[in-house]
């Protein structure tokens, strides 16, 4: 197989082509798609998904899932929202948001690794629990009126590109390197492909699992701060459904739902794909319902492709 063939056969390549094709279609069919404000808006919206998808990619590579990411983002919004509103330094708000997420992720990872609870159940419980807490704290009210002066991290631009996207790019570069060159990063794949063999090979299963959930929590917390700073509003339902976008991005980007393979770059492309579909359909005035339809079908096709491939390999 030549290098070219190898690239063409990768999932990332397929997704990239899809993005370009859809981009072209939307550019021709709508006037606003290629406008600077729309592109910048698109990038802003998908930066949170892309950042959280870094952790989610690792979680799914280990064969797990984290459906509490949306609630985690919401909770981080609440905490950082209050601090931004109080006029504290955005830096303090950032630290707190990440810590809140990290804490939730650590609890997730611990009950999954040590308690042996299936990830979907553990994080589903966490998702509801956090959402209920948010309701308690907000008491049905909104947080609004955060002064724009402290919202640079969400609103600012550098070289015409929103700052959150720069942050996402930076984190993606760091963690891609991490997955390839740090022992812990490499162990993530081992745990997902064959946990039993990983254990016998001297990989610390439990700490690897705790790590990926903790990271996902922390990154969702970070995305939460960006969200609060960008919108300036926090509600009880902030971040609801966010986890589905993240999971969609990861799975479309080629991370195997069966575990053991996947790349963060793939998830970034997946995030772009989801973002473009949503954005384009809004511009085309397609009802929001069909947006879910298209993404749902894409997810099923991509997981099916993954499973067919796995079947071929283990024949």
């Amino acid at each position: 197989m030549t290098n070219f063939q190898r690239i063409v056969r990768r999932r990332e390549f397929t997704v990239l082509i899809l993005i370009l094709v859809l981009g072209a279609i939307f550019s021709f069919t709508t006037e606003r798609f290629l406008s600077i404000s729309n592109i910048s808006n698109l990038l802003l919206q998908l930066s949170g998904v892309a950042i959280t998808a870094i952790g989610m990619t690792m979680v799914i590579i280990t064969g797990g899932i984290d459906v509490s990411a949306g609630s985690t983002l919401g909770m981080a919004c609440v905490v950082s929202g209050y601090f931004l509103l109080g006029g504290y330094s955005p830096f303090l708000a950032l630290i707190l948001a990440v810590l809140v997420g990290l804490g939730i992720g650590l609890v997730n990872g611990t009950i999954i690794a040590w308690g042996g609870i299936p990830p979907i159940i553990a994080t589903l419980g966490m998702m509801n629990l956090i959402r209920a807490l948010m309701f308690q704290i907000l008491g049905g009210k909104w947080i609004s009126g955060i002064p724009p002066s402290v919202r640079t991290i969400g609103l600012g631009k550098w070289l015409g590109i929103p700052i959150p996207m720069w942050i996402a790019a930076f984190l993606i570069a760091i963690f891609s390197y991490f997955l390839s060159y740090r022992p812990l990063g490499r162990h993530v794949y081992a745990v997902g492909n064959n946990p039993e063999a990983a254990r016998v090979s001297g990989v610390n299963l439990k700490s690897t699992v705790v790590f990926v959930y903790a990271l996902t929590g922390a990154l969702a917390g970070f995305a939460g701060l960006i969200n609060a700073a960008r919108t300036g509003i926090v509600q009880t339902n902030t971040g609801m459904g966010f986890e589905l976008d993240v999971i969609a991005a990861v799975v479309l980007g080629g991370t195997s739902a069966l575990g053991g393979r996947g790349t963060i770059i793939g998830s970034l492309l997946g995030a772009f794909l989801v973002g473009i579909i949503k954005n384009g359909m809004v511009l085309l005035n397609v009802p929001a319902l069909s947006e879910g339809l298209v993404i749902g079908v894409l997810i099923i096709i991509s997981v099916l492709a993954d499973i067919i491939r796995a079947r071929r390999e283990t024949r």
């Binding site: 254990r199 090979s201 053991g260």
Partner: protein, 505 residues
């Protein structure tokens, strides 16, 4: 003379070029208990899997009740009247005993609902015919002892109108009392003119209940005798055969002090009172039958299972393997028996698989893995072990079994352990790769490694071992060195004869 109920004529079967059965003839009469014995890999299980419909033969005919038949599935075999009771009973643990018996062929009311009372009545009859009082009919199957579960399966077989029942090592998991009850039931089945194929490694049992015995070796039938015409020694001789193997000479120098000393190691239900020593520069082999506890002992040394009592001394100091990671850091490596489930990451690359255990060693002070060194190490082992792979990046599942095994071996060589435990290192790999693995093992011992090899293949043990420990049902039954390492001795100890120096039964 009773009529023949089942006859196999000239059955052959190969798996990927390896002949598992060669022209096997086997016949079973009504009301006969016909024992089937042989070493691991002699072909017994392949034969019964063919008879019970789990496998199709490549060649040969099966005649059942005077007609030539093709048994294409276990379900068909059951409806024809051929049932198998395996070592680990196949059950539905949460369903009741009655449901387990009638699952898939429920007795129904005219409206098509399940007729519970009739099923229960029928089940009672079945157990009554076996002389068992069925007080457990409504209990979930999982709550029953294995012995009772086995009885339920026998009852199920009778419910299907079984003419032939195959027992695969039925007593291996039973208490003495339960085994005695099973023998009574087998007698009753005989009276009902059911033909019974009985596989067991316990030769004394065979003398207790069987009428005939067929001995298999290397996929062939090497003897078929009425029990009155044979004795234990003859059976063992036939099972062992004459193995002409060329021993591999290695230049390893045996250490003076044992690097590993195990004292009275016990894990309930797995192994008991196991004591032995291993030396650097020596190949110590664990022989015996599958399930005799050898693998469990090895896993206890490597921290996969934790023993209940006993001591391990490593390099003269008391040692406890807290986890595989810990054991590895201390210089003990274990190549697992089942490379698919414990050894390999099939969808990851060859180089990934080789270096996964040594990433921390080849990382720089910042903890970044040195990609160049990683490649060099992978290349080195690919060359040294002659691993045939298209590239470093090839996915391991694309490699042949032999090359996969060499990849697992390479992973452990990279760790450079002082004690290397190899569990069935050549199972399922071709002859050429096998020879290469053997050469490699000799080289390692020469370098001063202590190698412990667990093998169910007699020729492999005879070829490699400097010293052999034989285990039977969790206990050491024989220790042999030098001239005493021969196939007859190994088979005798493996079938439960105590052959320890200085001790007698």
């Amino acid at each position: 003379m009773e009529t023949i109920v089942l006859e196999c004529r000239g059955i052959s079967k190969s798996f990927g070029g390896v002949r598992a059965l060669k022209q096997v003839n086997f016949s079973l009469r009504q009301g006969e208990v016909h024992a089937l014995v042989g070493e691991n890999g002699a072909g017994k299980s392949t034969l019964i899997r063919i008879i019970s419909g789990a496998l199709l033969p490549d060649q040969g005919e099966i005649w059942y009740q005077g007609k030539k038949v093709e048994i294409t599935s276990p379900r068909l075999a059951q409806t024809m009247g051929i049932s198998a009771v395996y070592q680990d009973p196949l059950i539905y643990p949460y369903l009741s005993v009655v449901e387990n018996i009638f699952l898939g062929r429920e007795i129904k009311t005219p409206r098509g609902n399940i007729d519970w009372s009739k099923q229960e009545e029928k089940a009672k009859e079945l157990f009554a015919s076996l002389n068992i009082s069925p007080h457990f009919l409504r209990q979930p199957m999982g709550e029953l002892s294995v012995g009772l579960q086995q009885l339920v399966l026998i009852a199920k077989a009778i419910a299907y109108g079984a003419q032939v029942i195959i027992f695969d090592e039925p007593t291996a998991i039973l208490t003495e009392h339960e085994a005695e009850r099973l023998f009574q039931i087998i007698k009753r089945l005989k009276e009902q003119r059911v033909g019974i194929i009985y596989i067991s490694h316990r030769l004394e049992e065979i003398f207790q209940i069987a009428d005939r015995v067929t001995i298999m070796r290397d996929g062939e039938v090497v003897g078929d005798y009425p029990l009155s015409a044979i004795n234990r020694e003859m059976i063992v001789e036939l099972m062992a055969g004459k193995h002409l193997v060329e021993e591999i000479e290695h230049g390893g120098k045996k250490g003076k002090e044992p690097i590993l000393a195990v004292k009275n190691l016990t894990k309930k239900g797995k192994f008991e009172d196991v004591s032995f020593e291993a030396f650097q520069g020596e190949i110590l082999a664990f022989s015996g039958l599958v399930g005799s506890g050898r693998t469990d002992v090895a896993q206890a040394l490597f921290g996969i299972i934790s023993p209940d009592s006993g001591e391990i001394y490593y390099q003269g100091k008391k040692f406890k393997a807290y986890s595989p990671q810990y054991a590895m850091n201390q210089g003990i490596a274990y190549l697992p028996e089942d490379r698919k489930t414990q050894g390999l990451f099939p969808i990851l690359s060859v180089s990934y698989n080789i270096t996964i255990s040594i990433l921390r060693q080849i990382a720089n002070h910042l903890g970044i893995v040195n990609a160049k060194r990683e490649r060099e190490i992978a290349e080195k082992y690919i060359k040294e072990l002659n691993i045939r792979t298209p590239s470093l990046e090839a996915k391991v599942f694309n490699l042949s079994g032999g090359n996969q095994q060499k990849v697992v071996l390479a992973k452990w060589l990279g760790v450079n352990p002082r004690v290397l435990i190899l569990d069935e290192p050549t199972r399922g790999i071709d002859v050429a790769a096998k020879a290469e693995v053997h050469q490699m093992i000799a080289k390692l011992v020469e370098r001063g490694m202590a190698v412990i090899i667990i093998s169910s293949e007699l020729p492999e043990v005879l070829k490699l071992a400097d010293r052999v420990i034989v285990m039977h049902e969790g206990k050491i039954t024989g220790v042999f060195e030098g001239e005493d390492i021969d196939s007859t001795n190994l088979v005798r100890a493996a079938t439960g004869e105590r052959m320890l120096p200085g001790k007698s039964d």
